[in-house]
Amino acid sequence: MKAIIYREFRLLAREPLMWFCMLVAPLFCAAFFTTMMQEGLPENLPLGVVDMDNSSTSRSLQRNLSAFQMVEIVQDYPNVSEAREAMQRGDIYGFYLIPQGLQRKANRQEQPTVSFYMNYSFLVAGSLLYKDQRMMSELASGSAVRTALFARGATNAQAMAYIQPIVVDTHPTNNPWLNYNVYLSNTIIPGMLMLFIFMVTVYSLGMEIKRGTADELLRMAGDRIERVLLGKMATQLLIWMTIGTVIVVWLYGYLHFPCHCGMPVMWLVMLLFVLASQAMGIFMFSCLPTTRMGLSFASLWGVMSFSICGMSYPVMAMHPCLQGLSWLFPLRHYFLLYVNCALDGYPLLNAWPHVCALLLFVVAATLLSPRLKYALSHYAYQA
């Protein structure tokens, strides 16, 4: 057993590719995603304005618009066509259209319409602007009325109550900043780790066949496949969990992402997740015991995980058969456990089905081990 662990360490250390996949790339990804979205919530998104009125009302409207934190009015366009072209060039994400005669019509109570055109090809930018825009629409219609009410001696509270009798207070629980980094990095970074675990597990088993060292390995383990797996996987687990610990500490200790359950619980979730991913990797190779097919399986399944785990697009909005399929992806369970423990602060066992699911991956892999043993002892490498 010791010999297998020692041998595995030597094999991994000898190959630069493994250094890259097990250390450099996962840590690079952790740094990449967290620094990319370090702003948390995009600020000063460029917007344009088409002011056809050029009146004091339209200018005060514009001033109000550019006072919002999330947007910045970068350019005044003479007409809609030019604003549209700027949007198609990607200079701005959207523009306001203030029609001619705004002030005159507003004074005459003729209800002019201010329009906001938003480019939803960039959904995130568009969605994030949504709340500010709603507020803006209230302000736009309210400001004129409020001036009139103030003139009649109304207090601010009375005026606001007149303009807006029902107000909606939003409480985005546990991520009150709507921080995008919290929202995405928490799942993408472990997801990248999972992708590497899938591939390295398949690769390390496949290389035994390719190098023709599988027989020697089985001999070392006294012809017992569980020893082979334990020896190889325990070694890799040690490395993966080192990286996993760094990720947990980086996210919750250094960046202080919400973690209501405390770091030890998240570390435990990470451990379960790494085990399940390794098991999934073994499972893949046992099903398709050639390096080529196993790696194709691992990469397609791994990349698909990011979509089907439901972190950005909810699983409940997917086709029912995909909802069922999502149970076969370890990242899906990790995501739900993270939401349950770190984000919402419920005890780990509240989400026990997902803990069980992660453990079931390990069981599934061991069930297939006779097949793996057959593959290791009988298959020869073919390009």
Partner: protein
Amino acid sequence: MLTKLNRIFFNTLHTIFHDQGLIIFCLVVPLLYPILYAFIYTGETVREVPTVVVDECCTPTSREFLRHVDATADVRIVSHAQNLKNAEDYIRRREAYGVLVIPRDFDKTIVRGGQAHVSIYVDMSGMLYYKALLSATTNVSLDMNARIKASRKAILYEDVSLYNPQNGFAGFLIPAVLVLVLQQTLILGIGMARGTEVELRRFTGIDSLLRVSDAQLVTLGTALAFLLIYVPLSIWVLGVIPKMFALNSIGNFWELWAFMLPFLLSSIFFALSISSVCRQRESIVLLGVFTSVPFVFLSGVSWPGSNMPAFWHNLAQFIPSTPAVNGYVKLNSMGAHLPQVWDEWRLLWLQTLGWFLVAYFSVIRQLWPTSFHIQQETEAKEGE
């Protein structure tokens, strides 16, 4: 010279069609993967987000408010709870994703002419839940406000969503995925082909030794072979798939092609350059697959490019998918014309040139007489 180019070209084609791994990455994946992705996101947006209500007011006004909220497409009221604590149990059991609280003095405040506050609490595990609940309640409150004050607004306000009228997920993510599928499969395919060559110590399947002076022929011949395969594939991926899934596709066919040619070329040379580090057949899968996710982010469709740290933003300019995704979205989803994507188009040609040079030098290095495998081969020949 032409015959040599011919042989390199046909040998590369032969390699592609006789290698299972290459068939998977260069034919099967580009054909099927986009369908799978489009299928995942085909629902576009989340509807009927399950929500629990805590109605402390229990008056006709509060019930009217709730009826209107329940009637929206975005929200479904699954249950009424006594208080916030009970409502939280639904969240904990994942039976609801939001809580809507109407305070005790809701009706009274309105009648008195004050400002009544309705609160929503949203589970932040998904931004779409937040948006659905926020927009449903805001719309209802605006609507009821208008009726309560029974006065006309001074200025009306409308918002128009352009180029993705359903504000859907597929409409924004799929175009980026489609472009990425082409680039990434090229990286995997070319990397695998080259890794195999290095591993088996042969080059483009030609037994007779190629000289360093043939480097440009090798680079071009390989590139042309992959280009030939990828032209029909990109028609399928970029032209047919969006139509099949009713995504925006309002671009002009020829403009699209004028734009996609430099993309394919730069991707091929980019892939050839990367492939020079592959010492084995399998290396590229381990090196290349993970890059898809960072590349999507670097292209700026998800996190706005204008808010990226400068370092990443500059790095993104070296990757073909960045200008290609932006240009493709502008041409095909937003109906722009070539002059409006001039910046992207020029960048793609610059990348084509730059990555060609890198690829060319990497081939020279590989063909250099002192290079390891050729030396071996020469020795083997001398041995004979």
